[in-house]
Structure formats: structure tokens, C-alpha cells
Amino acid sequence: MRGLIRGEGAVWALLVCLSVAMAGASFGYGVTKDGGEIGPGFLPLVSGVALALLSAACLLQSVRRQAAEREEADPGRVRTLWTVFGLLLVALLLVPLTGFLVAFGLLVFAVSAFVEKQPLVPAAGIAAAATLVIYAVFVLFLAVPLPGGLLGIGGDG
């Protein structure tokens, strides 16, 4: 089964689980009210059941054609993709510490310089320019209180 449900099939299987769980929980909210009118659980129940059925049908379709349509991506690009995604996660986790601007400035620099292998000086220049433009537009002009983190750099309006 593990070999059968992979790729797109795994997405549909996940949706079947999600919709069944949400439909199941909908009973706790009350599907109908005393007068027989629709309650808060009605739409989650109906849409949950509908999605479970539709996802199951799509799962069957994808399992049938999976063998015929197996596309392999360049492993190097896939590694780059997950590296960028990991760096994004690191940037988000850094926000409470360094503040929004510093965390995302570092993200731009790290992606440009180390992932995309651009020369260090232009990459640093672009990161600094992007950080300054965002500071000017969002913090100074629009008064958005970006989190300053423990360092308190360039944030909190």
C-alpha cells in the first residue's frame, strides 16, 4: 500500500483523512438546531463528507495512472528547493530574536549568496537595499509595527 499511495495519491489520502476528521468533529457543534434549522455543524459535515468522497475518487484515479506518469525531477533542484524552504523556516524562527528586518535581510543574503551562488558583494548589497526599502515603505511610510526582536532593530513602527 505504501508503494501505491505516494505523490499525488498521498495528497488525496491526506485530504480524505482531513475531511473525515472535520466531518466527525462537526457533530460536536450541532448539525441542526431545535427547530430543525441548520446548525453550526451542518456545513462542515456536508462539505467534509463531500470532500471525503471526492478525494477518495481522485485517489483511485491517481493510483490507476501513477505507474504511467512518474516524473523524476532533477535531484539538485529538489535539494535547492528544500534548502530555500528550510532557510525560510530558520528566518521565521529567528524573528523573535533578531527582529523581522534582520531575519529576512539575512534570508535574502543567504539565498542569493549561498544557494544561488551569486557573488558575495552584490548579494550583500541587494540584501541591504531590500531591507532599507522595506523599512522605508512599511515601517516609516505605512507605520507597520514590524517585530524588532530582542535586538530591537528597525521594528515596532
Binding site: S19, R77, V84, L88, V95, A127
Partner: protein, 496 residues
């Protein structure tokens, strides 16, 4: 009526009004360019600046921000597949494909031309039919609103490719299911919030859109080996006569659809743009090109959302019921200036009402003059190597999302839905039905609950409402029609 219009142009054509209209259009365009900052935020942020203005001047500037921001959202939809607002989602489908083929300038030009034409059509319709349409809109009850939303969803599902209709339907239902997260509007009961305060107001759909479209697209492009810079010649960025003539019908149909849906309170620009795209995909001679960069796929939804934006003022001005989120903020502005929208407004303050309506036309002329020459220049942004471009897209997407509600929850929503968007692109799952389901989900449930209450729990009340019934049948036909049509020749062959 003509006298009123002449009076309106007289009021709008003062140097001060023209200047502030231009400032509004320009500021709106810039705001619309920033991911997450749409017309609603733009109007709300700049509202305090207008407090010292004359009411008409202030409203003209705020209306300028409204449609300027919509065009700004179109620019990012086309260039980097990042819609600024839900109404621009459908433009990203063909607009972005046109950009990848070096036709970004043409896509942006036709969006400006379509918006301008829609402004003329909607102005003519507003002049001729605003009061009767306001009355008709008043006759639209919950069953009719429910039917219109089902039609919108059916349309978007039906233009998923034949094999993908099931997947499109699944995505639309997923959107509706996700829209049930948060406090139930009818009873105030929190659903699927797991005690998290941020989830009480539901999944924020603008942040979801930024994640799905902007971050999802970036991640997908990285996997594909990064999109090459577009090195189109300057003359290739200009719109051609053939493209203009291909778009004429799409603009006309989009404008009328946009106007009709824009008159309905709550339906708004998003449904209009989706519906116009769906109709065009059915009737266009070039329907096989849809999804791969058909210019009609940009012209129709852009005309529709602009016509709807203008027509949104019908329920706002004539009934005091905002047609959408931005007109709700504008309604607040009306109150601040001591103006009471309602049926008597057209009679009591004709100069203000007709001055504002005339300014839509003037504002759209400015938008056209400003953006036709700028469109090819905006398109030059695509010459920047993607290795430099995508970290900047990521940062502006996240900071834009943060600025909507000023909280980190928005940023995490973008992160999670960025991953979802990547997998949706990887497996070719249609995003538009998911977004529309999420956007209309709350309104859909409200209309469903109200319909149920009207019938004392009996939903068959819909069968007694002729307009709702016809719209529901139309939706059913859209969903089941193509399958039924396929069956007919088979039966004929079998009988032969």
C-alpha cells in the same frame, strides 16, 4: 439623467478634484503592487489624509485608490503570479503565462484598456439603470445570493479541464470546508480553533492567497530550475491590433457580467472576475489557449472586476449596503463626512453622487494614460535574473502578509500555504476553486443559514423562488453539461 451626468462632470472636473483623483490612482497603483496590501488597506490607510478635504474631493481620491489598487494587483498577478486581491486571482492564470512568453506588456495593456472600457460601460449602465438595479438588488434574498455563489463556484469548477473537473470540485469544497474554521457567524460558536485566538476570525484568505500563489510559485520555479529572464524586445511588449480585436468581445461580456454582479451586495468583484473568465472560456474562439496565455483570459476578468468595483457603488450609494470590503470602508468615510447613503442620497446630494460617478470615468482615463506607457516598462522587471528576484518576492510576500493584521500568525499562514501551493502546482491541482471557496465560504454559509431559517429548516424553499431556481439549474448545467454532452453522441452511435 443626462443633466445629472453633465452636473457630475462639472463637479469632478475642477483642478483640485483632478489632482487628488490622480494622486489617488497613483497611490492606489503603488499600494496594489505590494503583496497583501489591496484596495481595502489602501483606502483605510490613506483615509485620515482626506479628513481636511471637501467631501467630494475626498471620495474621488479614495475611489481613485480603490481602482488604482486593483490595477496594481493586476501588475503583480501578471509579472510574478502574485495577486494583490482575490479579484486578481483569475488574471494570474493567463496573465502570468503571457508574461512567461514575453507578452507581459500586452497583458498589462489589455488589463488597463479593459478596465477603461468597463468604466465606460458601467458608467453608462449606472446612469441608465442605477435606481432600478438598486431595487432589483434589494429583491435578492438569501436563496438568490446562495444560488449566485453556487453559480460562481460551478463556473470556476467547470473551466477546470475535462479530466480535472472532479479535482476542481474537490478544491472548491476544500475551500468551503476551510472557510468554516473560526467563529460561526450565526451562533458565535468557535469551530476547529483548538483554543487558538488567531483562528477565531478564520483562515485569512489574503494571506492564504499570498502563500498559494507567490510562495508556491517561487518554490515550484526553484524545483523547475528557475524561470529564465524574459528578454523580449521593447516592441514585443506592446499590444498588437490582433490582440486588441481578439479582446473586444471579452471586454464587453466581462463588463456586463461585472456590472450585474457588482450591483449585488456581497457578491463583489471576485465572483465577477471568476464568472467572466468561465464564460469566456466557454464562448471564446480561442478557448483552447486558456490557461496557456490567452489574452481574453486577462481582458474578461479585468473588465469584470473593474465594472463590478464601479457597480459596487450602486448598493453602497442607493441602499447604504456596501457591495464589498472596500466599499464598506468607503461607507465609513461617507459617515465621517456626514453623508447618509440611502435611497434619498441621489435626490438630496446629486452633485456629490454624480460627481463621484463621473470621477470613475476620469480616474480610469488617468489609469489608462498612466499605465499604457508604463506597462512595457513594468514588464522589463522580468529581465532581472530569477536568482536575485525570488528572494525579494519571498521577503515582500512575508512582510506584506505581516502588515495586513500586524501579527506573526499571518506570516505562518503564508509559510504553510506556500508549501500547500507548491504541492498543488506540482500535482497540477487547480488553485482558483480553492481560493473562491475560501473567499465566499462565510457568505455562502450565512446565505445557507438564512435560507434554512426562512423555510423553518426546510431548504426546499429554494424551489419556490424562481430566480434562485433558474440560477441553480444553470449551475447544475455547467457542472453536468459537458459530461451529458459527451454521452449523447455515444448513445447515437450505439443506436446506429
Amino acid at each position: 439623467m443626462l443633466d445629472n451626468l453633465i452636473m457630475g462632470f462639472g463637479a469632478a472636473l475642477t483642478p483640485a478634484n483632478l489632482l487628488w483623483c490622480f494622486v489617488g490612482v497613483l497611490a492606489g497603483t503603488v499600494i496594489g503592487l505590494l503583496p497583501g496590501l489591496g484596495s481595502t488597506t489602501g483606502v483605510a490607510v490613506l483615509l485620515p489624509l482626506t479628513l481636511s478635504f471637501e467631501p467630494l474631493t475626498a471620495l474621488i481620491m479614495l475611489a481613485g485608490i480603490y481602482y488604482g489598487a486593483q490595477y496594481g494587483g493586476t501588475i503583480t498577478s501578471v509579472l510574478i503570479s502574485t495577486p494583490g486581491e482575490a479579484a486578481s486571482v483569475v488574471t494570474a492564470i493567463d496573465g502570468y503565462q503571457m508574461a512567461r512568453k514575453g507578452r507581459a506588456g500586452a497583458a498589462l495593456s489589455i488589463a488597463a484598456i479593459g478596465s477603461f472600457a468597463a468604466a465606460i460601460v458601467s458608467l453608462v449602465l449606472l446612469v441608465a439603470m442605477a435606481p432600478p438595479f438598486a431595487e432589483l438588488a434589494l429583491g435578492f434574498g438569501p436563496p438568490e445570493n446562495l444560488a449566485v455563489m453556487v453559480l460562481g463556484l460551478a463556473t470556476i469548477v467547470s473551466f477546470s479541464s475535462a479530466g480535472g473537473r472532479l479535482r476542481g470540485l474537490a478544491m472548491a469544497v476544500l475551500g468551503i470546508l476551510l472557510a468554516t474554521v473560526g467563529v460561526d457567524a450565526a451562533t458565535g460558536l468557535p469551530r476547529y480553533t483548538f483554543g487558538d485566538v488567531d483562528l477565531l476570525s478564520g483562515l485569512p484568505f489574503v494571506q492564504v492567497m499570498i502563500g498559494l500563489f507567490a510562495v508556491g510559485e517561487v518554490l515550484f520555479q526553484i524545483r523547475q530550475g528557475a524561470a529564465a529572464p524574459i528578454r523580449a524586445r521593447f516592441k514585443d511588449l506592446m499590444i498588437t491590433k490582433a490582440e486588441l480585436s481578439r479582446s473586444t468581445g471579452a471586454i464587453a461580456r466581462g463588463s456586463v457580467i461585472g456590472y450585474l454582479l457588482g450591483c449585488l451586495p456581497g457578491a463583489g468583484s471576485t465572483l465577477a472576475s471568476f464568472l467572466a473568465y468561465g464564460v469566456e472560456k466557454r464562448v471564446s474562439r480561442n478557448r483552447h489557449e486558456f490557461g496557456q496565455g490567452a489574452i481574453e483570459g486577462v481582458a474578461a476578468p479585468e473588465s469584470a472586476n473593474n465594472a463590478a468595483a464601479n457597480a459596487n457603488f450602486v448598493p453602497t450609494l442607493a441602499l447604504g449596503i456596501p457591495g464589498g470590503a472596500t466599499t464598506a470602508v468607503l461607507l465609513g468615510a461617507f459617515m465621517m463626512y456626514g453623508i447618509q447613503p440611502g435611497p434619498l442620497l441621489f435626490e438630496e446630494q446629486p452633485e456629490l453622487v454624480w460627481g463621484l460617478l463621473a470621477s470613475f470615468f476620469l480616474g480610469n482615463v488617468m489609469l489608462l494614460v498612466l499605465n499604457l506607457p508604463l506597462a512595457p516598462m513594468f514588464a522589463q522587471l522580468l529581465r532581472i535574473p530569477y536568482g536575485y528576484m525570488y528572494p525579494l518576492i519571498l521577503v515582500t510576500s512575508f512582510v506584506g502578509a505581516y502588515s495586513i493584521d500586524n501579527n506573526m500568525f499571518s506570516v505562518w499562514v503564508v509559510f504553510v500555504f506556500g508549501l500547500v501551493g507548491y504541492f498543488m502546482k506540482k500535482f497540477d491541482l487547480p488553485m482558483a476553486p480553492l481560493v473562491l471557496g475560501l473567499v465566499v465560504g462565510a457568505l455562502f454559509e450565512k446565505a445557507l443559514v438564512q435560507t434554512s431559517a426562512m423555510g423553518g429548516g426546510d431548504l426546499t424553499i429554494i424551489l419556490t423562488r424562481p430566480i434562485a431556481l433558474v440560477v441553480f439549474l444553470l449551475a447544475a448545467l455547467l457542472l453536468a453539461g459537458p459530461t451529458l454532452l459527451k454521452l449523447i453522441p455515444r448513445r447515437q452511435k450505439e443506436t446506429v
